[in-house]
Amino acid sequence: MSLDVAAKRPNWFARLANPGQFLAWSRPLLWPLAGVTALLFLAGLYFALFDSPPDYQMGETVRIMYIHVPTAILAEGVYVLMALAALGTLVWRHPLADVANQAAAPLGALFTGLALISGSLWGRPTWGTFWEWDGRMTSFLILFLIYLGIVALWRAFDDPSRAGRIVAVFTLVGALDIPVVKYSVDWWNTLHQGASIDLMGDRHMANSMLLPLGLMTLAFGFLFLTLYLVRIRTEIFRRRLATLARQAAGATP
């Protein structure tokens, strides 16, 4: 009888997501990620504000697109990430999955709120109104409320392991809103325009606008990644803190 030693070694995913190992590999990444984020914002803002043309229809207000589209992409992308983390909690009971959900929720809510505000300020000069109850805007507001619900649920429980499963179910139910947000402009006749970036289709944006949009999307993405890693680390430490506090309380005569 032989022991298969290699089979017992944790795979790359297990090493990636083990809380202790996560703390070890994520720490040296934080400052480089923050530096890349700052450089991307500098370059993106330069092209967005100083070196890109006004739109032939919207004029200078097209510059709002360079902050509205990235925040909207992140609002949906962060939720997809949280839905995957929810699967990790419910299906694989992964130790870092509910931390990943908890750490992302306030950031996702922030990006959704910023997309709503910037979109509203773009809508007033473009459509003549700050708000319209059309498919895209309404489903996006619902996404914002779902985010707030998840943040509130996390705060409602003292024991994060109990909260994890309930939040995971809520997150997966809320994920039904993501395809509605995405395809609302195709399913219904909305005031909101169609997708700004359509790489597979025949709608092409001028390179002079695609460059600042790409840079700003990368800048927002790297900012999220940096803040997300710090948030996950903080949550891991907060749970350790709670364990130590219980340990200390138990040791006190």
Binding site: E60, T71, G113, R124, L223, R240, L241, A248
Partner: protein, 58 residues
């Protein structure tokens, strides 16, 4: 600075709103991380450690 035209207030307002939101988030994330790290360090300074000690510092 470029001339943002008659709708400058909306463009400046959108950028300012997003900047305030992002800076606020960065500040909150950093201060929260520091607060938790300080509390953890204070407990460990009292000799209260995890059974599997040797984890990286915050």
């Amino acid at each position: 600075m470029i001339d943002l035209g008659p709708h400058a207030v909306f463009i400046v307002g959108a950028y300012a709103g997003v900047a305030v939101g992002l800076l606020g988030a960065v500040l909150w994330v950093v201060l929260d991380a520091r607060r938790v790290a300080a509390r953890l360090a204070a407990l460990e300074a009292r000799g209260i450690r995890r059974r599997s000690a040797g984890s990286p510092a915050p």
